[in-house]
């Protein structure tokens, strides 16, 4: 009797185990399971408030894709260009998605086989014409454009101009008179000079080149079709920029973010800066901007999204890259980041209000869009350009030395020395 009882119990247990097993197997193959969470590392150049605006974009993606977690690391373009290549050479990558304003660097890394060809990821016709040029090599596209910025001219506070009865200049003579009035009557240095690694001085210099040499001169300098020692180039520096430097109209170069604060507080009257400055001041409504009189072109640039060939999360990284280049732009231009869209499906009204006039002027062709000179040439020449301009700013008499150094380094770089 006892033996029968044991057999029944054993049979019941075995049946139960088999039943659980079958049930689990059915559930395993029929019930949809949540996807495993993938953590993507995104490297971008933004920190501080700029990072806050970009984080809104990343958070939106995380909400849309619950299986994706994004870890953002802020690394400046120059640091990424130092960190990533040795890792690439060893078959590794510092991040899944890399964002940098240096198109030349993206193209260079892509050409060396470290980045994924993104040619088929988006429809290039949907973007601002020419935006893919800096990241294209041999018909392969190694970067997708994110939101763009422009460097429209000298920013000023409208309230400051009203207080001192200053007017936006319409001729070069009026511009010089304005600077003289600010220096002699108000008693402050008229123009703030930004520094850091040096790019703010290059932006200012490029604006002089575009104004007095035309947008085509900037393009010729990028391609090396005109030498830096050419009389046309020298004349622009000698007749327009150097006299202002010698007259003390520019401040000594100082950290560009600190200069924003000082300029806003009235230590300086003007500051040549990109559109992102709108997101860095307490009251963007008080901002005014003007170009040098007669300027026919504005420098525009973008941050490029690339995906390393060595990422372990290739599929997810590509999806994120495509989303950032398209829908992500809608979110970013709506923030106070001071950027505008390069994806043409984003409407004017979706932009943050202070950015709409700049965006409209650029998109309707009121002014020519010109690539950033130092970002386009890149390499050793870029840092040399920054450093030599720092020299020029404090020693305007060294103009010839500066121009010949720029030409020498350009030629060395072109020869691959």
């Amino acid at each position: 009797m006892a033996s029968l009882e044991k057999k029944v119990i054993s049979a019941a247990i075995i049946s139960l185990i088999i039943g659980i097993g079958i049930g689990y197997a059915i559930a395993y193959y029929t019930i949809p399971r949540p996807k495993p969470v993938v953590t993507l590392t995104v490297i971008g150049p933004w920190s501080g408030v700029e990072m806050e605006y970009f984080m809104k974009v990343l958070k939106a993606y995380e909400r849309e894709h619950p299986n994706i977690k994004i870890k953002y690391i802020a690394i400046r373009a120059e640091d990424l260009a130092a960190i990533a290549p040795p890792q690439f050479a060893a078959g590794k990558t510092p991040g899944d998605v890399l964002i940098t304003p240096w198109g030349w660097w993206v193209a260079s890394m892509g050409e060396k086989g470290h980045l994924v060809d993104l040619s088929e990821l988006v429809d290039k016709e949907e973007f601002v014409p020419g935006i893919f040029d800096p990241v294209t090599r041999n018909d392969k596209v190694y970067g997708l454009p994110f939101t763009a910025w422009a460097k429209p001219g000298f920013w000023h506070r409208k309230s400051f101009f009203e207080k001192y009865g200053l007017k936006v200049p319409e001729t070069w003579e009026e511009f010089k008179s304005l600077l003289k009035k600010i220096k002699e009557e108000i008693g402050i240095t008229p123009i703030a000079s930004g520094d850091g690694v040096g790019w703010p001085l290059s932006d200012t210099s490029e604006h002089f080149i575009i104004t007095f040499g035309g947008p085509e001169l900037q393009l010729k300098l990028i391609k090396g079709e005109v030498k830096w020692t050419d009389p046309e180039v020298r004349k622009i520096f000698e007749e327009y920029l150097v006299p202002l430097l010698k007259a003390g109209y520019f401040s000594e170069p100082k950290d560009w973010t600190a200069q924003v604060d000082l300029w806003w507080k009235g230590k300086y009257a003007l500051y040549f800066m990109g559109t992102w400055i709108t997101g860095m001041v307490p009251d963007p409504g008080d901002l005014g901007v003007f170009t040098l009189p007669g300027c026919k072109g504005i420098v525009m640039g973008t941050d490029y999204i690339s995906v390393s060939k060595y990422t372990p999360n290739l599929e997810e990284a590509l999806k994120l890259a495509r989303w950032l280049a398209t829908e992500g732009q809608r979110i970013h231009v709506g923030t106070k980041a001071g950027k505008f869209a390069t994806w043409l499906k984003v409407e004017l009204e979706e932009h943050w209000e202070p950015m709409r006039p700049v965006y409209k002027a650029l998109m309707t062709g009121e002014v020519a869009v010109v690539p950033d000179l130092d970002d386009a040439v890149g390499g050793k020449w870029q840092t040399t350009f920054w450093d030599q301009l720092k020299l020029l700013w404090t020693n305007p008499d060294k103009l010839d030395e500066v121009l010949s150094t720029l030409q020498r380094v350009y030629e060395e770089q072109a020869k691959g020395k």
Binding site: A82, N395, V402
Partner: protein, 300 residues
Amino acid sequence: MKDVLEKASFLIPALLLIFTFVIYPTIATILLSFNINLIPGVNLVEGSTSLENYVKVLTSEEFINPTGLRTSSFPMGAIVHNVIWILIHLPATTILGLLLAVFLQNIKGSSIIRSMIFLGMVIPMVVGALMIAFSFNKDMGIVPSIFKCLGILSLYKTWTSYPDTALLSLIIGSIWLWTGFSVTLYSAGLASIPKELIEAAKIDGAPFRVILFKIIIPLLRPVTVTVVAMTILWVLKIFDIVYVATRGGPGGASMVMALLMWDYFARMNAYTLSATIATLLTIIVLPVVILWIRYATRGE
């Protein structure tokens, strides 16, 4: 024999570590400078085996600038800047360290002053560099302000922004940062001098100058050798304060060897040129190290 092998086996872990992390990278770097790549699976070399990297580096204006040397104006080239740095920094820190150590020896509360001097050695070099940049800034720096008060307006400027003062400002800053090291070493050396010697000299009526030059300085010779050797090594390798305060600018006026090496590596991804500078630096540093080790092992 077995005993010897057993003893030798204890050395194996240390030797393995030294070989992996010191000897192999050193040899790989030297070979890389000749375009020979020892690192498997990593493509760092583009040219063929030759001395071309040495020719490129030694003839580059960043390394030696003939125009700057001819006109005695900056930039003169990284190697010249390093030499200028040693010529100013070495005597300054050695003499300052010795004098401060001697004068602080018998002063009440000297340990507090010594600690304050040593602060320069304790703080991270990056912070020190920022402090140098601030100290020489026209708007907030103490140095330009002093010159303004003295009426020397040509020096009332941001020193790090001008080619004629950028390197000097870094050298002065580095003296401040490094003096703590020499003061500490000399203080320890002074403590080891028998007091009887100095007291006997005093009883014999020797003035302080004689005591300093005839007793203290000769007895502190081993310390001086260490201070000199360590200072030369530190200056030759100096990088962080230049990188943070001036980035070698303006116009290369404060470029030094270690920063040039970094530039080749990080800004240009020219790993072979970077390895060439590293090898040249090693060649320059090596005699100093050998002489110092020889002196130290002689037991003087």
